[in-house]
């Protein structure tokens, strides 16, 4: 385990979230994510996976508890410092969130343009990335003319183009065929090997089984469990048999 992998990326301490005066949708969430690791967040539909990811990519503030991100208290972070943090994150939204009036190329280029990357340094990486997700010939197409799977690939390309410190993906392979799902997973793994912490929310057990070194967090009715010891430090490795049992469950 390298020195870099020991670095804490995200720390949640007793985090709770409720909307208005309703009951808590997330309760007593405490965990630490370390740099360079691959995490899966599982749980049944409605368990709170998307809500927890929203906290992770700073789209939502918790009702209680502490969140530390990249060594800084994210709860009291002033608004003007949020963009700097968000530029270190890559997010694949469940509903893709592509900008409708922009082409596939411009959507993928968006994080680079927002970060002020010169135009001459944008064309090649964006073109390469679109080729990689097999959308090279659709680079001028607008989202409305792309299929669900193609939109998802554009969303993934946009999330990884800036080589983020942490990639947060919400059901990233839900609309693609199995072969493309494996290919995209390999992309996440490649990014992970380069040092990016990857958090993938999914209930696709086949996907989880494809990444043997991954750590699994499970949400159940807004509470977090730790079936693979992902939340301990150092994380506990589990045997492939035990892992298969867990994912089967």
């Amino acid at each position: 385990m390298s020195q870099n992998e020991d670095a804490e990326i995200v720390h949640f301490d007793n985090v709770g979230l409720r909307y208005g005066t309703g009951k808590e949708v997330l309760t007593d969430i405490s965990f630490t994510l370390y740099s360079g690791r691959f995490y899966f967040l599982t749980g049944a539909s409605g368990a709170g996976k998307t809500t927890m990811l929203k906290l992770l990519y700073l789209a939502q503030r918790p009702s209680r508890g502490l969140i530390r991100m990249f060594g800084t208290d994210a709860i009291t972070l002033p608004r003007d410092r949020l963009p700097g943090f968000r530029r270190r994150l890559g997010v694949v939204f469940q509903d893709f969130r592509l900008v409708p009036h922009l082409s596939a190329f411009d959507n993928v280029a968006l994080p680079l343009r927002v970060a002020g990357v010169p135009e001459r340094d944008i064309v090649k990486p964006v073109t390469d990335m679109l080729e990689w997700v097999e959308l090279g010939d659709r680079s001028h197409a607008r989202p409305a003319t792309l299929s669900g799977g193609e939109q998802q690939r554009v969303a993934i390309a946009r999330a990884v183009i800036g080589r983020p410190d942490m990639l947060v993906a919400d059901e990233p392979t839900g609309n693609v065929d199995p072969d493309m799902a494996i290919k995209l997973l390999r992309l996440f793994e490649a990014l992970n090997r380069l040092g990016t912490t990857v958090v993938v929310a999914t209930h696709d057990v086949h996907l989880i089984r494809k990444v043997p070194d991954s750590l699994i967090m499970r949400l159940d009715k807004g509470r977090l469990s730790d079936p693979t010891g992902a939340l301990r430090y150092p994380p506990r490795r589990v045997s492939p048999t035990a892992r298969a049992d867990l994912t089967r469950a």
């Binding site: 963009p83 530029r87 997010v91 946009r158």
Partner: protein, 311 residues
């Protein structure tokens, strides 16, 4: 010099590139719809109101300067011979009086011309039977205030008992007051038009923000700053306001020109004196620039204020 030129070109290129990249974040040209037309109308009306205000100010200034040191001495006596004697005596007294720059007995021909529109001077009109006062037009070296007019009166009355001495400014005081009120009205109109422009830009910006809320949220989530988003709206508003400003200036100048011709045709000395100088035209040409600045700043603060509500 080459280094400075290179640096300037580099910065300009970088700014252009950044502007081009940012302009692609939101669809351009669809932010404000009829905004250029609305701004053109606002600017046009502001130009007309400003030109009117400036022309009135010029009129008042010229008239005021004309009559500031003016004093009129009337010899009101029904007997022509006595009236002429008192007029000559008063004129002599005035010519030696301190503070008097000039004194001129208004000739009978000019007096006839003054009364002609009302009484006529053609054969059969018995003008001479009317006791028209003799007039002496006096110019003081200073302003004709109460003290100087009173001192002048004392000097004249001892030699011309029927003399009446009045400062010319006192006759025109109601005219100046009316001009002042019209100037305030023009100022009020300009303020109202500026307020209406701000309100229109606010509405258009809010509408655009609402239409592009999803895109703005995405840009935010990808690390876009409030300033970046505000710049997109500012730029769009600047283009709309500049187009509207140029159109409005043209509209306003043409209208002002036509109005000026109409007033000039009246042939009244006071009206023709109220023309616009080059500094006035310069100030009028600054109105579209001020309009663009106002629209851009309104859009900026409106967007920044709205974005504060987003995480």
């Amino acid at each position: 010099m080459t280094v400075v030129a290179d640096l300037t070109n580099g910065l300009r290129g970088e700014w252009r590139e950044r502007a081009s990249a940012e302009s692609r974040l939101l669809p351009q040209g669809k932010l404000s719809g009829p905004m250029p037309w609305v701004i053109a109308i606002m600017i046009g009306l502001t130009v007309v109101a400003s030109a009117s205000g400036l022309a009135l100010r010029n009129t008042a200034r010229l008239a005021s300067a004309d009559v500031a040191g003016g004093v009129t001495v009337q010899i009101v006596n029904g007997a022509p011979r006595e009236r002429d004697r008192q007029a000559q005596a008063a004129l002599e007294a005035l010519q030696g009086a301190p503070g008097v720059a000039s004194a001129r007995l208004v000739p009978q021909k000019e007096l006839d011309a003054l009364v002609e529109p009302w009484l006529g001077t053609t054969a059969g009109d018995d003008v001479n039977a009317l006791p028209v006062p003799a007039l002496i037009d006096v110019r003081l070296s200073g302003t004709a205030d109460k003290t100087s007019v009173s001192a002048l009166r004392k000097q004249i009355v001892s030699r011309a008992a029927d003399a009446r001495v009045d400062a010319q400014a006192s006759w025109l005081a109601p005219v100046f007051e009316a001009i002042g009120a019209l100037q305030w009205l023009a100022g009020g109109l300009i303020a109202l038009l500026a307020f209406a422009t701000v309100a229109t830009v606010l509405l258009a910006t809010r509408n655009a923000l609402s239409n592009h809320r999803t895109t703005i949220e995405i840009v935010h989530m990808l690390g876009g700053t409030d300033a970046q988003i505000a710049r997109i709206f500012q730029r769009s508003m600047a283009v709309d306001a500049a187009a509207g400003g140029i159109g409005g200036l043209f509209l306003g100048v043409v209208t002002t020109g036509l109005l000026g011709r109409q007033f000039a045709a009246l042939g009244s000395g006071m009206m023709t004196a109220g023309g616009l100088g080059w500094t006035d035209w310069l100030a009028i040409c600054c109105i579209p620039v001020a309009g663009v600045l106002l629209a851009v700043l309104t859009a900026r603060f409106s967007v920044l204020n709205a974005l504060k509500g987003m995480l």
